[in-house]
Each structure stands twice: as structure tokens, then as C-alpha cells.
Symmetry: C2
Subunit: 471 residues, 2 copies
Amino acid sequence: EITYQSISPSDFFYRNREIAGFSNPSRAIYAAVRELLENSLDACESISIPPKIYLRITEITPSDAERESAVYVLRIEDNGTGIPSEHIPRCFGQVFYGSKYNLKQARGTFGLGGTITVLYGQITTHKPVKVVSSTGVEIHEYEMMIDIEYNRPMILRHTVLENKKGWRGTIVELHLEGDYTRSMSKLYEYLKQTAMVCPYADITFVDPKGRLYRFESATNVMPKPPKTVRPHPHGIDVETLRRMTATSKVKNMKLFMIEQFQGVGVMTAEKFLNFAGIDPKTDPKSLSPDDVVKLVRAAKEFKEFLRPDASCLSPLGEELLSTGIRKELNLTEKDFLRVYQRHPSTYSGFPFIVEAAIALGRSLSKNEEGSKMIYRFANRIPLLFDESSCVVWKVVNKNINWSTYKVSNDTPLVIAVHLCSTKIPYKSVGKEFLADQPEVEKEITNALRHIARYLRLYISRNIRLAKEKRR
Amino acid sequence: EITYQSISPSDFFYRNREIAGFSNPSRAIYAAVRELLENSLDACESISIPPKIYLRITEITPSDAERESAVYVLRIEDNGTGIPSEHIPRCFGQVFYGSKYNLKQARGTFGLGGTITVLYGQITTHKPVKVVSSTGVEIHEYEMMIDIEYNRPMILRHTVLENKKGWRGTIVELHLEGDYTRSMSKLYEYLKQTAMVCPYADITFVDPKGRLYRFESATNVMPKPPKTVRPHPHGIDVETLRRMTATSKVKNMKLFMIEQFQGVGVMTAEKFLNFAGIDPKTDPKSLSPDDVVKLVRAAKEFKEFLRPDASCLSPLGEELLSTGIRKELNLTEKDFLRVYQRHPSTYSGFPFIVEAAIALGRSLSKNEEGSKMIYRFANRIPLLFDESSCVVWKVVNKNINWSTYKVSNDTPLVIAVHLCSTKIPYKSVGKEFLADQPEVEKEITNALRHIARYLRLYISRNIRLAKEKRR
Ligand SMILES: Nc1ncnc2c1ncn2[C@@H]1O[C@H](COP(=O)(O)OP(=O)(O)OP(=O)(O)O)[C@@H](O)[C@H]1O
Ligand SMILES: Nc1ncnc2c1ncn2[C@@H]1O[C@H](COP(=O)(O)OP(=O)(O)OP(=O)(O)O)[C@@H](O)[C@H]1O
Ligand SMILES: [Mg+2]
Ligand SMILES: [Mg+2]
């Protein structure tokens, strides 16, 4: 009389789609656009190609007095890597499938955003998704749906087309129900903030009313791309170590430490294994569960590994961040703008970098609620919701005493914080706010305090000039 | 050079365990206790047995100067339904497996809490979990671990024991690393608030220091248990309808509507199908995708289905909620306490009930931050974190003008809100805060305003008495 059952991952997110960000008709439009745009930007940046993205939302069934949602076709085109034919169906038809499960900075991380977007479109309109992609050779066109109960794609049609122009990239076209009018302002804000941190991207957006929004690129300079790295010993746990010993082919623990981890040289490996009480000649496959636990504990406490390698990160850099902010906020030379990039830091063995900026100027309007205007970014993704639950908001409103920097409640201040990491401490699958991880919080606080000292000089100078003028 | 891979659901939550609530060593202890306790309470209530739960945390490896976390054994015993032997391994060793995927109120809903707790213990200590359970016949003892890469249990040992006393219930014992000292106060608060809404439960907790906390039951009266119901047409979407047509054996749509849905009688079925433009004699298996979409749209707009059946819900009721609050807040007869249960309402076809209470009295201390003390519950689960992101906080602090009820910022007010539903609008897998679903927000607002009117009378009367006293 109690019945037990299992459900597939797609079934889980079908039943709990609010957890993935698809909580209501207007939010669904926003979520769909962002998931697809983030995939396109990742694809271009991974081969250091300036993104050229064309996004269009077309209304095909209008809303009416009875129903506020309309049916739209959402179409996005990019000039990115393209997807190899054999992976296209699972990339969009299977939850927990993707290319971003490694230790390298990217917007994507969970392997479900694209699939959940296709799923949402399917359950509201019963229409298949069309994916056209090429890695430079032939063009593959798939028409498919998701078998939600079994978390697998159902291919309705697969056509191979000639690629005369040598096109490379991806086109996704799907139907979905939503409320574009309600989502409009957040959507526009998302695109604007994306342009702010990706000034090298060219984005065109045509909305259901036929209005064209063009975010032209301001530069062709792109940040240095990230590299995939091996894990750092500080982030190790029992399961990761167990998997490493299962796949490693080396015959002793000393070589194992050097092969599997970053930051471990010959001397360090020896020293660490002695510290951990493990004979360096031990065969990794012969470690007992207690040895594994001993190693994991020792790895967290051993102080002599090299600092985590930050080449897996790709901060924007002060130049690019400056360019983007100046352009999107229309700052003039008289306005104050200071950007600052911190050195790499780590939490739980994952490296991260905080970049921040503060801008102040007449041209900036105050946030409607009279609170400070905060722009939050994680791996170049603008975070627009749940501000008061985010560690960035906590730092700005609780950790920093702005009056000591001569900032009053009326000062039209803009604060921007960008966090890069191979593991962004998202508190939810919907990627809207960050957990108050102590090391991350400390870095954001220090970054803003550093810039605020220059802000104080600027404000003091303006006060002084104003006084002199009055005399 | 771009590698594609899939990961299992357990691997996903292993990599992203903060999303399930296991974000740091102190939070992990809290998450582990709550997930196991919620399972035990569900198990007892589902057979209307007053829960007798024994919870113990034993320290077996202390923390030291280097490492703040210690290793504990967490053990919980209940007198609930027990779990049939063939289901025990998957209940604790497979993510997305459980008995609560149906339309009936319960604390559990995702099918992953118990498994993630076992997973966390395993990756921090490499020790197996021990589960002992009986549904009244034999006692089954399992020692098992999770194969995280494949989301399946690994049974190390399975023993069948004689059950001389006819015991029925479940015992779970696992090792985990954590910081009990930091989690202590939240844990105690969680148990206290659980006792507040489950005054029929008897909970004993022995902590690592050997201190015993006993939450005795205040009554043997239990709320009327919920029943499993069929879905309501307002909540239908394309995927659910498609699955129903695949499993249904009836030959025409008229019988299909009556069989598959609640709130649909013979007359209503006919009327609705005409409204939707579908011939009542159509075979469900012959519906085209366009017909399915037409039906789903029409179902949302049709106004003449019966209101959703709230027998799938189990509110506490005003008596039980009163008892619990009086006991846990030590209210006296002179204090003000008013509870109120709203009629059932719905959102997206899911029924829900709001129960609320306001208490005011000298014995109540003010919340440290000077803000109102808010107790939030969802299906009898106390929500202790992320208060400012929760719709309940929004209602209390934004929707209600307390000064019109003669409440000042110094008034030591306690507000309790309990939401019951077959679909709680959790914003995250960690079950800590609720989305501001419009219908839910409206019901909470109306419930509190209703009680606040009585509060105003009480406060006015006290003011008047105080004035008379002074003359
Ligand atoms: N426009 C695109 N160009 C190239 N590859 C793409 C594109 N869109 C999706 N992909 C591929 O499909 C995979 C799955 O995408 P999906 O959005 O579901 O997950 P993800 O981006 O890896 O993670 P997340 O859920 O965090 O977004 C990606 O990892 C990527 O390899
Ligand atoms: N103490 C218990 N007594 C009886 N059954 C239990 C007990 N603990 C777990 N179970 C069974 O194991 C299943 C899985 O538990 P788990 O906590 O993983 O998921 P859930 O409770 O269904 O959902 P949620 O993830 O929301 O907690 C439950 O659905 C229940 O059937
Ligand atoms: Mg993605
Ligand atoms: Mg559970």
C-alpha cells in the first residue's frame, strides 16, 4: 500500500522546474534565453572567437483575455564550436550530459540548462526542438523531443546538409509558452549586463514586437582563455581519491601524487606521504579505506603544496572590465570609475578570483529603492534575482561601513563584483545567488574596501572643489 | 579535444552538495539530522502512530587544533512503518528513489534526502551506513555504501534477524564529519520547532557531550492523515496528459476524464470536452499532439470543475497548533495567542492550506535584531535559514502594515505560519525558503491580517487597562 518508485533526472526537474528557474511564465522566458545564450557564449569563448549571436523571439499565438501567456518561438544562432553530431541529441535531450564537467572556468557547470529549456518548451507546447550545428565539416540538423520519463532524447528527424560556406556554430529553435511582456525589462537588463562583462561580444536581439536591440562589440580583445587543470590536494575527498586510484596506472603512491594532482613535485610528494604516514612505495590500488581517509585528512592539513594553479580561471582583467562598464553605463571622463582585480585565492581547494569596480557619477541614476546599485557576476553570468540572499549584497550592506568613505545614502554609487571560479558557490540550480563562503566573502570585502579608498579621495576632492567654487 | 560525458544523479549531488544543504561542516550536521528526522516523522505519521524517536550523536574522533571538524556517529531510531527489505538498499543508496512521489502531503518529496545524507557521511569517513528495519515481520539489517558514479547501492552485508517482540520501525546509523559545536543552536532550535508543530511526537536527543534533551509529547491526538488523490485538471500539462493516455485502458475521452482526474463527474466531463472541442467518444490513444495541447489549454480555462480536493492535505488544526505553541513558548493565560486555519486554496492545480498564529506576551523575548520573531513551517518542517528570501518574511515585513494593528517595533510579537500542500513551492532542494507564489502569498497575507484584528483588540484593551490603572 506504500509504493516505491524511482524517477529519472529529467522527470525530477519536470516535477520541480521552479528549482531550475522555470517558476512562472515570465520567468520561464528569462530562464530559456539565459540558458541558451550562456551556452552560445561558452562555445565561442572556448575557442577564443569573438561571439556573434543572433537571438529572436517571435510570437506565434498571442495571449488573450483568458490566458496571459502566449506561445513564442525562441531562436538563437552562434558562431561557436558547434557540437559533433553524435553528441547533439544528448546535449539537449538528456539531463546531466555535457562538456563542462572538468576543472576549467565556464558559465555552464551542471549539464542541464539546455535540456531543461527544451523540456519546458516541450511540456507547454508539445513541439519538438530543432538543433542545427556544425563543427566546420557537414551541417547536422536534428528535430527532437525528450523522453522525460527515461531522460533520453527522441530523434524525430536527422538531416545532414552540405556546408558550402564552411560554417561553424549552433542554431537552436524551440517553441515555448511564456509571458514576454512581464519578462521584458529583466531580459533587457540581462543582455545589457552581459554586454558589460563581454564587451568583445556582438549580440543582436529581435523581440516579439519586431524591435531590434543591438549590443555591438566595443573591442576584439578577449580575456586569456582558461586551461583544464588537475585537482589540488586541498580539495580532495574520499570519493575523488578512490576514483583516482581506480583509474591510475602508476605503481607507487609517490608517482600517483605527482600524476594526479597539481602543485605536487617529487620532493613534495615524498614529504607529504611521510607526513600522512603512507609508504611512498605503496601501490595506490592497495590502499585500505583507513589509508584513504588518512591521506584525505593529511592533504587538507599539509601546508607545503604549491598554491592552487589559477590558469583554469579567466578573469576579465581591469582593462576589459573598465571598457564594458564605461560603455554600458555611459560614463564620462568626469565620472569616477575604478576597477581592481585581486590575486587568486582558494576555498576547499578550488581557486577563485574576485574582480570589482565602483563607479560614481552624475550620469548614474540612483537605484529606485534608494539602495546601492549592485551588479553581480559569476563566471561572466549576470545575476539578477535574489539579491538580498547573495553574499555580494551581504558584503556591500553589512561588511562595509560606507560612511567612512564619505559615501552617503544619496550618493549614486554603482558597485560591480565579478567572481571567477571552477566552482561557483551557487546556492541553487537556478544560478541566481551565491552562498556566503568565508574565503569568497573575505575577498569581495577586501576588493571593495581597496577601491573605496580611491573613491574617498575622489569624493573629498569634489567636496573641496565645490567649497572653493562657493567662495 | 572537447570531451562530453554524462554523470549520475548521485554524482551530480556529490559535486554540488551545497545545493542539497550540505554546504559546510556545521551545516552538514544540521542537514543530516533533519533529513533523517523528517523521514522518521513521515514514517510514523503515515500510519497515524505517535512518533517515538531516539536520536543520538556520538563523537568518535575529536576535532583538534588543525581541524575544526570531528567525526561523529549519528543514529536515529523510530517506530514508523519500517521499510520492506527489497527497498531498503535503494531508499538509502539511490538518488531519486522513494515512496513520496504521489499526490499526498508529506515532508519528503524529492526522493534524495536520505541518500544524500548517507553519501555525505561516506565521502567524509569512508564508512558504510547501517540500516535496520522491520515492517513487523523479520528484522533486516543492511550494511551498505553508495556507488556514487552509478547511483546504486552496494550491499556489504545483509542479515535477517528474528523479530521476537514484533518490533516495527527503522534504525539508521552512519558516520560523518562535521562541526557539532557550530551547529548546536540551530539543531536545538529545529527540534524545538518540530515539537511545536508535532506536539504528539516524543523525541529524545543525546548530544556528543552526553546531554539529554527530551521533547515529550503533549498530546496523543494526531491530525487526520492525508489521502492520495488524483490530479486536478487545472494542474495538467502536456507531459502528464501524455502519460495518462499511455497508461489508461478506457476507450473514450469521457470515461478518461472521469477516471484520471478528480473533480470531474459525468456531466462535467461532457461539458468540458465540448468546451475543448474534443469529441467525447474519441479514443484517448488516438489524440494528436495538437489535441493534447488544446485539451491542456482548455483545462486551465474551464471554470466548472469542482474545487481541488483537499483530502490530500493534513493541516494541524487550530487545537493542535495552539497546544504546540503554548507548550514550546511557555505561554501563560494572560498572553495573547490566536490561531487560524484558512480554507483550502490552490495554485497551478495543487491544493494548499495556510495555518497561522500570532502570540504576544511578556514572557516572549524580542528577537535579537529587533525584528519580528517569525516561525515558518512547510508540511510540518521548520524552515530555519534564508528567512529574508522567503515569501513568509515578505508578507510579514512588506505586505502588512503592523502599526494599524497597534503593533510597534518594540512589541514582542511571535508570528507562526504553516503551509501544507502536495507541492510546496520550495526555491531550492535544501528546503529552506518558499517562492513568492501569488496565491500562496495572498493566503498568508489574509491569514495574518485576520488574526491581527484580534491582536489589535487585545493591545487596545491592555492600553486601556494600563491607563485606568494609572488614575
Ligand atoms: N550553443 C552551443 N554550442 C556548443 N555547444 C553547446 C551549445 N549549447 C549546448 N552545448 C553543449 O551541450 C552541453 C549541455 O548543455 P547544457 O546547457 O544542458 O549544460 P551545461 O552548459 O554543460 O551546464 P549548465 O546546466 O550549467 O548550463 C554543453 O556542455 C555543451 O557541450
Ligand atoms: N525512517 C524511515 N522509515 C520508513 N521509510 C523510510 C525511512 N527513511 C526513509 N524511508 C524511505 O526511503 C525513501 C527515500 O527517502 P529520502 O529521504 O531519500 O527521500 P524522500 O523522503 O522520499 O524525499 P526527500 O528527498 O524530500 O526527503 C522514502 O521515500 C521512504 O519511503
Ligand atoms: Mg548550459
Ligand atoms: Mg526524506
